[in-house]
């Protein structure tokens, strides 16, 4: 039995086709190279973010130290002057004070191991409460 002749399919413009294939490969390789650069940029960004977080922590610590050094004044809500009309016109401040001045939760419900975020939330609430008393 005679072997069957293989069939061939003619390709129109083979040179152009080859050129397109090579160009596609080139673009893909360029993209992979750029990915490496992208990873480097991301690493750099991570380093800067860590440095920024450290700086913020330092600022927070310095602020706490500043508060300790400042004289302790016993300011009670009754001693504070009433807010001026133009200050009342600032809804953002009023809203924030109102939101943050909720009574503290009972100690029993406070979770022993607070996360860093929860600590910061508490610190922020305390500062805003103090600010609220000053207004």
């Amino acid at each position: 039995m005679a072997e069957e002749e293989p069939l061939y399919v003619g390709i129109f413009d083979p040179v152009d086709l080859r050129r397109d294939l090579l160009n596609s490969s080139k673009v893909i390789i360029t993209s992979l190279r750029k990915y490496e650069q992208f990873v480097a940029v991301r690493d750099e960004k991570t380093r800067y973010m860590a440095a920024l977080a450290k700086t913020f922590r330092e600022i927070s610590a310095l602020n706490r130290r500043l508060m300790q050094l400042m004289p302790k004044t016993k300011i009670k809500p009754g001693m504070i002057r009433k807010p001026e009309p133009e200050k009342e016109a600032m809804p953002r401040v009023v809203k924030r004070v109102g939101r943050r001045m909720r009574p503290a939760e009972p100690a029993a419900t406070v979770i022993k191991e607070k996360t860093r975020l929860a600590e910061l939330e508490d610190e922020l609430a305390s500062v805003e409460e103090k600010l609220g008393k000053l207004e």
């Binding site: 399919v9 003619g10 390709i11 129109f12 413009d13 152009d16 086709l17 397109d20 294939l21 160009n23 596609s24 673009v27 893909i28 360029t30 993209s31 750029k34 650069q37 992208f38 940029v41 991301r42 750099e44 960004k45 800067y48 973010m49 440095a51 920024l52 700086t55 913020f56 330092e58 600022i59 310095l62 602020n63 130290r65 500043l66 050094l69 400042m70 004289p71 004044t73 300011i75 001693m79 504070i80 002057r81």
Partner: protein, 76 residues
């Protein structure tokens, strides 16, 4: 004079410490500002990289389309 208007005195030692701390806070704030601007630059760089990828992907897709068309319509 109302209580709210009363002058509060700070010990001289504490005052000096306070001034030192304020100076330090200012330095740290400058540092933070610098780091933020660096981060902003890097973010722009990242975005540019992603946009570049998108256009490269378009280019490869176009080429593949041509290749596919060429292969799907062979010469008789």
């Amino acid at each position: 004079m109302e209580k709210k208007d009363m002058v509060v005195y700070v010990k001289l030692d504490d005052y000096n410490d306070i001034m030192d701390i304020v100076k330090l806070v200012k330095e740290r704030l400058r540092e933070a500002r610098h780091l933020l601007s660096k981060l902003s630059e890097l973010k722009k760089k990242e975005e540019a990289e992603i946009e570049g990828w998108a256009s490269e992907l378009d280019s490869v897709e176009e080429k593949l389309e041509v290749i596919d068309k060429t292969l799907a319509e062979p010469e008789v």
